[in-house]
Symmetry: D3
Subunit: 333 residues, 6 copies
Amino acid sequence: MKTYIDEIKENESVDSLFLVREKALGITKNGNAYLKLILIDRSGEMEGRIWTSADLLSGAFEKDDFVQVKGKAVSFQDHLQLNITQIERAGEDGIVLSDFFPMTEKDIDSMFLMLMATGEQIKDPYVNQLLRLFWEDESFVEKFKVAPASTRLHHTHIGGLLEHTLSVTQLIMKNAAHYSGLNLDLLITASILHDLGKVDELSYHRSFDYSDEGRLLGHIILGMERLESKMRQLPDFPKDLALQLKHLLISHHGQYQWGSPRKPMTLEAIMLHYIDNLDAKIHGVQQFFKKQVLEGSGFSRYHPFFEQSFYLPPQKADAEPLNITEEKEIEKE
Amino acid sequence: MKTYIDEIKENESVDSLFLVREKALGITKNGNAYLKLILIDRSGEMEGRIWTSADLLSGAFEKDDFVQVKGKAVSFQDHLQLNITQIERAGEDGIVLSDFFPMTEKDIDSMFLMLMATGEQIKDPYVNQLLRLFWEDESFVEKFKVAPASTRLHHTHIGGLLEHTLSVTQLIMKNAAHYSGLNLDLLITASILHDLGKVDELSYHRSFDYSDEGRLLGHIILGMERLESKMRQLPDFPKDLALQLKHLLISHHGQYQWGSPRKPMTLEAIMLHYIDNLDAKIHGVQQFFKKQVLEGSGFSRYHPFFEQSFYLPPQKADAEPLNITEEKEIEKE
Amino acid sequence: MKTYIDEIKENESVDSLFLVREKALGITKNGNAYLKLILIDRSGEMEGRIWTSADLLSGAFEKDDFVQVKGKAVSFQDHLQLNITQIERAGEDGIVLSDFFPMTEKDIDSMFLMLMATGEQIKDPYVNQLLRLFWEDESFVEKFKVAPASTRLHHTHIGGLLEHTLSVTQLIMKNAAHYSGLNLDLLITASILHDLGKVDELSYHRSFDYSDEGRLLGHIILGMERLESKMRQLPDFPKDLALQLKHLLISHHGQYQWGSPRKPMTLEAIMLHYIDNLDAKIHGVQQFFKKQVLEGSGFSRYHPFFEQSFYLPPQKADAEPLNITEEKEIEKE
Amino acid sequence: MKTYIDEIKENESVDSLFLVREKALGITKNGNAYLKLILIDRSGEMEGRIWTSADLLSGAFEKDDFVQVKGKAVSFQDHLQLNITQIERAGEDGIVLSDFFPMTEKDIDSMFLMLMATGEQIKDPYVNQLLRLFWEDESFVEKFKVAPASTRLHHTHIGGLLEHTLSVTQLIMKNAAHYSGLNLDLLITASILHDLGKVDELSYHRSFDYSDEGRLLGHIILGMERLESKMRQLPDFPKDLALQLKHLLISHHGQYQWGSPRKPMTLEAIMLHYIDNLDAKIHGVQQFFKKQVLEGSGFSRYHPFFEQSFYLPPQKADAEPLNITEEKEIEKE
Amino acid sequence: MKTYIDEIKENESVDSLFLVREKALGITKNGNAYLKLILIDRSGEMEGRIWTSADLLSGAFEKDDFVQVKGKAVSFQDHLQLNITQIERAGEDGIVLSDFFPMTEKDIDSMFLMLMATGEQIKDPYVNQLLRLFWEDESFVEKFKVAPASTRLHHTHIGGLLEHTLSVTQLIMKNAAHYSGLNLDLLITASILHDLGKVDELSYHRSFDYSDEGRLLGHIILGMERLESKMRQLPDFPKDLALQLKHLLISHHGQYQWGSPRKPMTLEAIMLHYIDNLDAKIHGVQQFFKKQVLEGSGFSRYHPFFEQSFYLPPQKADAEPLNITEEKEIEKE
Amino acid sequence: MKTYIDEIKENESVDSLFLVREKALGITKNGNAYLKLILIDRSGEMEGRIWTSADLLSGAFEKDDFVQVKGKAVSFQDHLQLNITQIERAGEDGIVLSDFFPMTEKDIDSMFLMLMATGEQIKDPYVNQLLRLFWEDESFVEKFKVAPASTRLHHTHIGGLLEHTLSVTQLIMKNAAHYSGLNLDLLITASILHDLGKVDELSYHRSFDYSDEGRLLGHIILGMERLESKMRQLPDFPKDLALQLKHLLISHHGQYQWGSPRKPMTLEAIMLHYIDNLDAKIHGVQQFFKKQVLEGSGFSRYHPFFEQSFYLPPQKADAEPLNITEEKEIEKE
């Protein structure tokens, strides 16, 4: 059974699975080798030490491995530390991912079905086919369901990319319908695919970080590669539609300084940019409130990325009367 | 009957109402005084000249007056110019405003009723009362129905402020319902009132320009004055609600460089900022396309405010299939 | 008698008044509850611990209370810490404010009299009346005399707002007289009132920080509210004068990025902006030198707000010969 | 024989080939239709008018056609204007491109051979193969030899892209050799391919402008498409090499605000960015001097893109003694 | 006697002195050479034409010469133009500079005496000597009395540099005396010398423009050269005083983007920067009002450098009561 | 013999030379004075304590002195600390500079000879003489050979300024020869002298930091002083050449925000700016890789000045085939 790191107390014995975040060799003042580990699970992180047979055990596992660990929690300089007596690499079979990483609170498969259903409302046969090619690509779908949307700012959990994509797509349907003259088929497709490249930009199997491709190319370029690779299988895909879809994808960050090689030039691209931003910011600030405004209302600390602090007002008991009705309508869609 | 400026041909006699945009005294090479006018109506502008009795006629009307003019169109240096023989100030009674200014294409009274109806969905008694105070202020309502939303960028026509306000409020209802945890009553009220100060910032009776108050204080400060003046009539208005509403109003431009003295710090303020921006930009670019992309599709010229050009793709005959269904739902709301 | 924190030595017994800056509940490794406090006075801050009856004592006082404390100073991990045996909330009666907060070195009442006297030189009856309304508002005057001018940058002490206001007003009189064409009555009034909203923006009874209103609205908006509330009592106040005064108030930060919703557009507003900035920066850098250049001359460390370091040259013994004469003249004014 | 526009005099008869830059229908004051043309060739532009059979002739040619024109030069409002009596579309066969567009002063085929020869020095078999695929793509090579490098700033002539590419590649070889630790094979390949997408970004057959793809996607994205399309034909191309090459291509503008989705992160990318910039700016300023500093030395007018003016000092007769020797070495390379 | 350009009427004969601003050779439609001139004086500018003996007369004078011109004013395309029959270069002896350039409204010699008198109040013998070296440098003083302070923004007239320098120095004395701890001797010296390099940066004998040195080096570097050249004559000048004075000179623009290689780091440098800015802006806006707000009050047009418009309120008859008293005090200083 | 700090182990006795980086007096909890030192050498830094006779020994040496120290290494709070029993100031005679500071890996005298040899290729007699004056100035040459090029970013070692200067000069010769129309004599001279002022801007005898002159004036101004001081000895130096050379020196940072009072306006200045930047950045990133990418390839951490991280790809065994040939050519030059 899993013992969570934040439950471990001084002098307790521990026998549980953890993930190795860091692994380094140290030398004691007496010149003996030992291993310094940082072990993590969903609930936090903890230092570990292997004082004996360090060289031997060092070969038995690597950074980013899941390991079964036996040891005892001791106090060192006011922190708990695990003195490890036994450690071995664990296969992935018995791993429950949500023991180690934050997960979306929504159901991944339901969200995915809802997203596919939305795509099926598209009448244009070409974009319809295009989406189907993505859904039939099992390796893509597997990653798409698991990837987070960001390492720091918003939807930073397993399933976050899907959650954000569905949210943007639902919002786009509402907002686009408000105006005449927008190409809705195009907009829905672009909403579904806009952050596509994040399946390659981020690595998220053992930790949330940028992949090498992610750092050197970014998800806009990586998304373009995946998009073009599918389009090549549809030789009749209309050229002007392809051009507009690509423009939507590369301009959705809205500004050069946010890595968009183009600013949005069509009405569809303008809308996608605003709605994507809105969803990322609302979700990002809500997530920040959860960690920073523990008492339920008040000012957060300074947010380094947004360069300001935020305010969560006291919630009224009977707030949001209109909310419920509208939410139902959405679920019918 | 009104003769429109863009229909006048060389050597035609003209007898019609115009608005005096500019009026200046000139001296001919022979040392005689004459009057140089710029006359406008909805369709364009035209130079006018009064060669005789200039001093006398100069006293009979001022810049920004409506005038009944008799004269003849002559060609001077490749432009048409009106040689005026008779001119007199016209009272406002016979004036049809839409002869002189661009008008919203929607029905002003219907829009206003729809906006009031939206406000009535609010359950919170205080903001409810607050809105009612505004609707009962006849002088305010009269201006609110007529004012444009901007002199240059978007909704630059009679009724534009109301049109933009209704559009933002409708969008806010859709978007706010998508998230839990937002104070919808507060958000709807803020949507309705966010650009309130524009009734004083812009002058729009004889031309679209900034008023002195508008230039020196801006619509955010002017809106705050109107808001506080109404709140004073509601001594029980909860302090924290007032504070949040004021914050929504002063932060809705989102950035210091756009004249907001505060950046949005609450979820409601973040959403209002994005949706206000989205509506202004979508409408502004659509309006720009109408003037700049006459052929129905293609690239616009460079837009000096947005510092880019825009692209209107060719429209497909059967576009927007989902539009219709959704539009109906909106009208039911 | 007050024992100052920076005088407490290891193993000393302490019995004195302090202010509770932070209060939190901790759990020892053995599972017992204890209280962690941060106590402050004018001279510094110190950790406190209540190891016994923590639950009981926790209810006896709150963060930001003045407390009478008995205990003993012990050394823990190279820092002194107060082991508290008795603690109780103190009433405000016996509190000497300057024991707890930095105070202006000048006499508050003299400064206030000098400021009022300056205001009386104004000939314009309307602004004269306006100022009198402020001076007659006892609750305002009380705050105005005590408030600091800033939490970090300049005049960050009790009485700092008054000190800065007087300084700006005196400078304005000198500088305005140098040019012809400025409305001196208006400028003096604006100098006196320019930072008025800081009495509400900052909270300064138990610590120097921003109030909720201060964070969500800022002192420019808060000052406008107070100004308008007084103006309403003067129904004959000339509209153009009111407009100019408000413009001076909202534009005095000079730049959008500093939270001014308007840039200074009149000569008076331009001057107020520069002189306000000059006084804030000279005082702010002098204050920074006091803390950062202890040896009397040399380079300060990097100033994070101004993004540079500053240099205080060695002072010559006989410096500033003209200073003395001129200083006298000022005092006569 | 070609008559150049800048040689045409008043009252002369003209019979020559021109390119139609603009074509519009006008209505005379008498209500008759006429055609307004702007005709261009290498030497300048000139207005043309077709007063009779405008409707008929209007169908005979389009904007951007080459036309054989007969007419007479007349003076209208101080400008020369061509009254056209005969006009017909010309086939492309007899067209000498350099009669209509500015051309590089260097020999296009020699430059191309030199570039290919440079590429052949590369030892890495994969990039070697990659370059060969480009050289074997006749449709690409044809465009690559003709395209300008920019519409306004530098190398704005037929062959300019090739000239700039060769120049950057030669400079890179010199500069890269100065440092140890750079991957020269990679750098040379990236130099040759860095502006590859410009063959699609710009349209340059009838005028120098951006293509639709160019405006909506930009040459960085368009270049990535061409690069990936070739790489797909080389299934063994090493992944890390591909990643580095793509990074070089998308980061060569160096800054987000110049449309690079990534800043240069490798030593090779840093160098390519600086050398590309150096060559573009030196050539751009030299080109600007040619038009703006006709007298051989002095200050140019303000350059709107670079936001400054430039200075061309008087040239000494015996300047650049070292130049000659070094130039020879280059040609040997 | 001087005939001013703005007094010349159609068909009048003219015989007067003018300054040649532009001179160019033209070719008539018939192939004859003629000379196109732009002639200026204080009152404006006018085109001139020499239709006969153009080649001959072309050698008789150059751009920037004063010329005695005979001719007749004719009307061409709605503008007056001078048909010149005789022209010859004029020596500088008879030239009254104020006929050709705008002049300060104050007395140059009085201002200069006042500035010297201020400098004599300095007690520090080294800076005292330094100033004396400047006053004894006749060639410098001659330029210093005549130079404008700027080509466009403020004090753009003969004597403007002196007027601005005196104004800044007087303001500095008032403001510096307000604070303790400033080195007044140093500040006064720096005020007097801060724009010193403008005597070389601007050329102002025949027109107001930048000299070559001014464009390539700027007045901060040019001022440093003059300052060091004088300091070299004072071998005992204290090193730390020299360092501080140089820092004041190079940092007075306050910001890197305004060409200051350093930001102000001492209290004296901070004050000089603000007061210099204040005086330049107040004077610049007053000058702008004179040209742009002819009706005595109202909004100016957009100021391209300051990127805003300005507002001149209606002046009250009895404004500035305190002005007079204070002004007297200044004159006593 | 020197004992290096990173080799000292717990409980070892130490007797070696160190440099005193910091020196401060402390008071033990028992009220006794002791001395806290930070000692450094090339290999790192270490705390030192003098527990007895602190007052006495305090007078025996100062911060920035070399000292001969006897003591014992003890462990305190998990760090090693030196308990000093004897300490005395060391003369500079026996000091080996490279024991204490990082040194260039190249030979200083060879680099200097190579730089002088490059200067001798210049044919223009004036710049030739100018360079000779610098080489004959022994005090300058001594500093020039030792100074680092920067305190943090690039070439931050003894000899770094010379190494960077030679590198830029060699690159300039290659790049300048690629273009026609550049004044090579001028460019080489400017390359050699461009960072000249760094000998005064930085202090580097006991630590790498900015000198007072460096902070208050910067190396551009300091370099101008040295340049002018030499030019004064060459009264015939052509004025236009001097002007161009000074412009090259003051504009080489390229941008106002980097402290250049002018942007590069000549082709030579443009090139110097880019090549200087290229060399500084390539070297700076290589140096950063050495400290940050210890494992030989991968991503560096975030670089605070460049605001990004960098990537060092895995090196191929047989990389840079062309390098060797080209390197030889350089050495021949």
